[in-house]
């Protein structure tokens, strides 16, 4: 029981980290960025390449991969989202163009790293374990949960307490009003993409370390989990995504333990479906007003 709660919190921290960036972009742009999972995957591979070819320590590779993720995010926004802004029905075409970018990213990863499963070399992360009570905890798990929580705390602080955060929230609320008040909306959107993709990158590297099996389509299953998380948390709500991430992680682990591992993925989709039908704004979402 204790072990399951620990495992759930540990998986949940990665889901939450992934979903926080996902929901941030949705909050700002009202667009579902389906390339988020591809950035997640690319950063895991970038960290792998840095560790494997340049023999960097994972502690150097992780921040570099996160930075790379952020830069990819800026490029993604320029290429796939900015040209569409202001067009009619731009949230559906934005969804499709992000899908196109995801396909391109997956193709690049498959060309460079091959379609098969890649792994971090042994000893990338020190294998230390503790046994409090009957449970087993590894140093890796603690670091992953710790880094995730730290990054999410930094994001929350950034959004709530800084001038940048205020302008991001203003653009999310109403881009036109924000522009009138002198906020550089394009810049704010760029920064949001940087933050969102950097977090996706962090989640990707941590996911890669945790499960140590990466393939160009590794992001797909996490993407669908991430959708369940942001729907449960309420689209656009960062605290909602954090709580929902942990909740989905826990539910998943308990399903595996008590129902069977093959039902793991069905649970998150069942959650997604029920929330959308019964309470589409999720746990913490705002009630959307209709735009004519």
């Amino acid at each position: 029981m204790g072990q399951q709660i620990l495992n759930g919190l540990f998986v949940g921290s990665i889901y939450a980290l992934f979903a926080v960036g996902y929901t941030l972009v949705f909050g700002v742009l009202d667009i579902l960025n389906l390339a988020h999972q591809a950035v997640f995957m690319l950063c895991a591979f970038i960290a792998l390449a840095l560790v494997e070819s340049l023999h960097l320590s994972i502690w150097v590779a992780l921040p570099l991969a996160i930075l790379a993720g952020g830069l990819i995010g800026i490029g993604l926004e320029r290429l796939a989202f900015r040209p569409l802004r202001g067009r009619a029905g731009s949230n559906i075409s934005g969804l499709i163009s992000s899908l196109a970018m995801a396909t391109v990213f997956e193709a690049i990863a498959a060309q460079i790293f091959g379609p098969d499963i890649s792994r971090f070399p042994q000893g990338t992360f020190p294998d230390v374990q503790w046994h409090p009570g009957e449970a087993t905890v590894s140093l890796l798990q603690i670091c992953i949960a710790g880094i995730s929580v730290l990054l999410m705390a930094v994001l929350t602080w950034l959004l709530q307490r800084t001038r940048l955060g205020r302008s991001i929230r203003a653009v999310a609320e109403n881009p036109r009003a924000a522009r009138i008040l002198g906020i550089d909306v394009d810049k704010v959107i760029s920064v949001s993409f940087f933050l969102s993709s950097a977090l996706a990158g962090a989640a990707g590297v941590l996911f890669g370390l945790a499960f140590n099996s990466m393939s160009p389509d590794v992001g797909r299953s996490v993407e669908l989990k991430g959708l369940a998380v942001i729907i449960l948390g309420g689209m656009g709500s960062v605290p909602g995504a954090v709580i929902a991430g942990f909740a989905i992680g826990l539910v998943e682990v308990f399903t595996v333990a008590h129902v069977g591992s093959s039902y793991r993925d069905i649970v998150s989709f069942a959650v997604l479906f029920i929330v959308l039908v019964a309470r589409p704004r999720g746990l913490f979402g705002q009630i959307a007003t209709r735009e004519a």
């Binding site: 009202d30 667009i31 579902l32 290429l79 796939a80 040209p83 569409l84 067009r87 949230n91 559906i92 075409s93 969804l95 499709i96 163009s97 899908l99 196109a100 970018m101 995801a102 396909t103 391109v104 997956e106 193709a107 690049i108 498959a110 060309q111 379609p115 160009p216 389509d217 797909r220 669908l224 959708l227 369940a228 729907i231 689209m235 093959s262 039902y263 993925d265 069905i266 989709f269 069942a270 997604l272 479906f273 959308l276 039908v277 589409p280 209709r290 004519a292």
Partner: protein, 291 residues
């Protein structure tokens, strides 16, 4: 000519199957709804057809195809009742969830051999049957254009609330198109299953519905002929370019993916109405130059 046909027989068949799938996505898009449940509907159709053929081989193929189209359409009703109230991205997400639940359901269903799926399905899809189905679906969707129903769908696509205030039963029309899309996807699933000999849950994942959507959008979703053009273009192009890719040392799988992505992006950015709007575009730009 005959050699050519024999060499490219399966490619030509896939043009037909992919056209049907792209048309199934077009059906819901034509009233402005992005539904991504069609891989799930396709799976239901494929399994229905395969099980019928394997367990009751005496049933005529026409009946098998009808059942494969009918069952997904029936399933679409209880799905559509709650889900069609959602708008835009939320509908897309809910239907992605449905598609995955269907796929995972088949993975966990022992009767259909779980993740392995059904094998050894007799090849009953003859080219003429396939193209007859394509022609029927194209005719049906083409007839909608300019009809009372067609105008209603267009009105819903442009502004749902306005359409409703004008007395159009938006929910009924959206439901009808969801069921029609499901039936077309199921039909395509059964045709594919009886062509490739196998059905397995891996073939009906999220990637599959993305392919359908890409083909529909690249062709153009303003007119029923667009998805057929898109499916034909994107099915044949990688085959033509494969040799080129191999010459510069690119693996065929990633190269095809890359091409799909780049073409989709280019179309969305520069040709939002798809390939079918290309002739009109060229004509108007030539006129501008002449003037």
């Amino acid at each position: 000519m005959e050699d050519f046909y024999l060499a490219y027989q399966s490619l030509i068949a896939f043009v037909g199957i992919n056209s049907l799938l792209a048309l199934s996505v077009y059906a819901t898009l034509s009233c402005g709804q992005l539904s991504l449940a069609n891989a799930g509907f396709m799976a239901i159709g494929a399994y229905t057809g395969a099980l019928l053929t394997l367990h009751a081989p005496q049933v005529p193929f026409a009946f098998v195809l009808m059942a494969s189209a009918a069952l997904p359409a029936i399933v679409a009703v209880p799905l559509g009742l709650p889900v069609l109230r959602l708008r835009g991205v939320f509908l897309a997400i809910a239907t992605i969830g449905f598609g995955e639940v269907v796929r995972l359901g088949f993975v966990n269903w022992d009767y259909t051999e779980g993740a392995i799926g059904l094998v050894g399905i007799p090849q009953r899809t003859k080219p003429w049957i396939l193209w007859l189905c394509v022609a029927l679906v194209v005719y049906l969707l083409g007839r909608l254009r300019g009809s009372r129903t067609g105008y209603a769908l267009e009105a819903i696509r442009e502004d749902e609330t306005a359409a409703r205030t004008m007395g159009i039963e938006t929910t009924a029309y959206k439901m009808a198109m969801l069921c029609l899309g499901a039936a077309i996807a199921g039909l395509a699933g059964a045709l594919e299953a009886h062509f490739t000999f196998i059905v397995s849950p891996a073939g009906y994942g999220f990637g599959r519905v993305v392919d359908m959507l890409v083909q529909a959008v690249v062709g153009g979703t303003a007119l029923f002929i667009g998805p057929v053009v898109g499916a034909t273009f994107l099915t044949i192009l990688p085959e033509i370019l494969r040799e080129l890719g191999a010459r510069v040392g690119l693996a065929p799988g990633p190269f095809r993916l890359f091409l799909n992505g780049v073409i989709l992006l280019a179309v969305i950015l520069y040709l939002p109405d798809g390939i079918i709007s290309l002739p009109k575009r060229l004509r108007s730009s030539r006129k501008r130059k002449a003037a």
